[in-house]
Symmetry: C2
Subunit: 212 residues, 2 copies
């Protein structure tokens, strides 16, 4: 393998470990990502000097993550693997899987904990903290899901806009205020409060957030 590709592959092997993905899986994915054509398991094992069985397990894992596409060629019984060509599609896939595997279970656990009635001050405080975490995760992930719906072009434009989006928001706010006198201001206040759940006075009676 050329040093160019090798350094890429090795880097993703290392990075994989930091992300709870093992080295083999990281390297296989990196190799497929830069490969010109789909590869079969033997080719991967050969290139990366891993045992055939290790590659088999790695590919299964990648399939479970929906990160590789499987295809066949006429007159060849072996399975060939490749990655999606559109890197946005890859990013989306990764985000969806992490949502399913990490975010959802966390939200479920938090919901469960928030259902309990607190037995003492410590539990009351813990629940307030959990509510803040729940709200943040909910906000970010549902926003992210919304954003995903946008077509690539709009998304691109939004990103290029960066923090200048603030100006845009100010415009709508003025517009809203103009249209129906007080509505805008009221809403802004309520949201600002939700954003920083820790300005709860401690000992006030915890778990004040909306029940879920």
């Amino acid at each position: 393998m050329s040093p160019l590709i090798q350094s890429f592959v090795l880097h993703f092997g290392e990075m994989g470990s930091r992300w709870g993905i093992n080295r083999t899986v990281g390297q296989i994915y990196a190799l497929l990502y830069v490969s010109e054509k789909p590869l079969n398991a033997d080719e991967i094992a050969e290139e990366l000097a891993f045992s055939r069985s290790n590659v088999s397990i790695g590919l299964k894992e990648l399939q479970a993550w929906r990160l590789v596409k499987l295809q066949h060629f006429p007159g060849d019984r072996r399975e060939y693997f490749s990655t999606p060509e559109d890197i946005w599609a890859i990013f989306r896939l990764l985000a969806e899987e992490r949502q399913k595997r990490e975010v959802e279970p966390t939200l479920t656990m938090l919901r469960g904990a928030l259902m309990e009635s607190p037995a003492n001050a410590a539990e009351r405080h813990a629940q307030a903290r959990m509510q803040a975490m729940y709200d943040l995760i909910e906000l970010i992930t549902s926003w992210f899901a919304e954003i995903q719906k946008l077509d690539a072009e709009t998304l691109q434009r939004l990103m290029k806009l960066g923090s200048r989006v603030q100006k845009l928001l100010q415009i709508t706010q003025s517009l809203a205020r103009f249209t129906h006198r007080d509505g805008g201001d009221k809403e802004a206040k309520a949201e600002s409060r939700a954003a920083r759940p820790d300005d709860d006075e401690p000992g006030t009676g915890g778990n004040e957030g909306e029940a879920r």
Copy 2:
């Protein structure tokens, strides 16, 4: 420890492993997060039934991530640890550290690989793929950095807006088009191209993106 807090702590221990953070560190952080008051190392070791030395190592790691605050109480030599109260601040800290530890090194590796002149078709293709990845990471992280500059309230408003932001963008676009006839359209086209770098025709001569 109450079952309520226990389930939270155990969950974060598990989740930690999936994120390349070890169980001890995950549990310590979770405990500090829900704790009413700062805790010292002995209290943590006691609550979580870890050895004192393990807690010491875990706390060092959390300090390296800037995720815990250290404080002292008068007349007590021990160090007490707590997490920031504002969960947005925690989120920001985490994002900054991951940027530094994972994103930056990846960008550096990619830049290095993109500097090389490709020796053959395979390398040319690999570089085109790496360029696409580089562009995506750059776009997302620089946008994220921009967004971070917004105050909590604006950010909140943006998130609540969700995909309705599209309408807002359409307004600015029409405005731009109105103000100086063709400018808006041209820009939109260029951006759309950058957004999906894989519509590069393969074999055209790779590495077409702007050199970095």
